[in-house]
């Protein structure tokens, strides 16, 4: 049971950890000041959410949040490849589209977790939901605004969507032993979450010409395996940067 719980919580936490890190890379580089602040703020929230998820494991006597974040072998991470992808050339359309696709999935996931039979997760999900509403409002507003603006904006969003599309669908790759987790009432099946995600984003993307059919199996293959420990080609560089301070000063306190 403990092993399954750890698998589930690490998948949730690691997604938040690296999404937070990637969003934080926009600090000082946002296209306008308000967006700089927005991405910094969202990054801070996501990182805090990762910490709160790790804390559930810590409360069970399993390591500490800092240990989980900074002192783990790459193969022991469970983050989806979507959140590991870099901010390619700092293209804001990619950042916004990733933010939108990811936060839609998170919205669905948290809703499912509020019903979890595992009480610490249900309680935490309820709290995080009340913070994530602002992220979703931000993501949806910008996608709709830019999706209806200039031809260039639309063109950039289309390119971003094409790049991110299979990675976003791969967010719903089933966890190892998922049937046992569903049976225990911890979480809804990933296939159900995926359907809910589609119902959430399709009505937003379709009217602005940004919807697209699901990726084919061939398109999806290279994005899979994340929940089993397969890291994306971008992970090593990401993790080296992420752990730069903790590696040089393992006992640093801040």
């Amino acid at each position: 049971m403990l092993e399954n719980l750890q698998t589930l919580i690490l998948a949730l936490a690691d997604d938040e950890l690296f999404m937070g890190h990637r969003h934080a890379e926009w600090i000082g580089l946002g296209p306008i000041l308000e967006e700089d602040i927005a991405f910094a703020s969202i990054a801070q929230d996501e990182t805090g959410h990762a910490q709160a998820y790790y804390q559930i494991l810590t409360d069970l006597g399993l390591s500490t949040p800092d240990e989980w974040a900074f002192h783990r072998e790459p193969k022991d991470f469970r983050s989806a490849h979507l959140v590991e992808l870099p901010n390619f050339d700092y293209d804001y359309a990619i950042a916004l589209m990733r933010h939108f696709l990811y936060d839609a999935a998170e919205k669905v996931r948290l809703q499912a977790l509020t019903q979890s039979s595992y009480e610490p997760l249900a309680l935490l999900a309820k709290r995080l939901q009340s913070e994530e509403k602002y992220h979703w409002l931000h993501a949806r507003t910008w996608i709709e605004r830019l999706g209806r603006s200039t031809e260039e904006a639309h063109h950039r969003l289309l390119a971003a969507r094409d790049l991110l599309w299979p990675y976003a669908w791969a967010l719903f790759e089933p966890l190892p032993n998922e049937p046992e987790m569903v049976e225990a009432g911890w979480i809804s099946p990933s296939s159900t979450q995926q359907q809910e995600w589609v119902s959430l984003i399709q009505p937003i993307l379709e009217p602005i010409g940004l919807w697209k059919a699901p990726p084919t199996e061939a398109e999806l293959t290279h994005c899979l395996g994340a929940r089993h420990g397969v890291r994306s080609p971008y992970f090593d560089e990401l993790y080296a940067e992420f752990t730069e301070v903790s590696a040089s000063e393992p006992n640093a306190d801040w």
């Binding site: 703020s41 929230d45 990182t47 805090g48 509403k133 602002y134 801040w254």
Partner: protein, 157 residues
């Protein structure tokens, strides 16, 4: 030392991000248990990712230690903080610090951002510039009447 005395000490600890408001008046203190020379204190952050949490934990420990009490602070992320935890003194201090405050409690962020009154001139001819501000619990607004920018204290919804 009694629990009341510990509460009184905690009330002297400022919210690091809005120092005019105490952490007690902000509703961030949950249960307090005192026995012998030890106090167990539950801290409920407004936002889970609040960067000021370690600072508050340290500050609580130091204030109590100065009075001979060992503090054990447990940060409870599972407990939801909500604005109805703010005491009347807390709302008063937020206004005095220059923040606009929500006029009604809601679970809809868009409703929260409607009809926000400018803390300087009182006009509700205001618009949201960004739902995010210098800290997780603030949003940035502009007043069309007096032309000033201001911040709304933004609770989790």
């Amino acid at each position: 030392m009694s629990a009341e005395e510990v509460w009184a000490l905690l009330r002297e600890v400022p919210d690091p991000e809005i120092p005019r408001v105490s952490i007690v008046d902000m509703g961030m203190i949950g249960e307090v248990q005192v026995s012998g020379g030890k106090a167990q204190i539950e801290l409920i952050p407004t936002f889970a990712g609040c960067a000021a949490v370690p600072l508050m934990v340290r500050e609580i420990g130091e204030r109590l230690r100065a009075r001979g009490i060992a503090a054990e602070v447990r940060v409870n992320y599972g407990a939801a903080w909500s604005p109805d935890r703010i005491r009347p003194e807390g709302w008063k201090a937020l206004r005095a610090a220059g923040f606009a405050v929500p006029t009604h409690l809601t679970d809809d962020p868009e409703a929260l951002f409607e009809d926000v009154a400018c803390p300087r001139c009182g006009s509700t001819a205001t618009s949201l510039l960004s739902p995010f501000g210098p800290t997780a619990c603030r949003a940035i607004f502009k007043c069309h009447a007096c032309g000033e920018a201001f911040e709304l204290f933004k609770p989790p919804v």
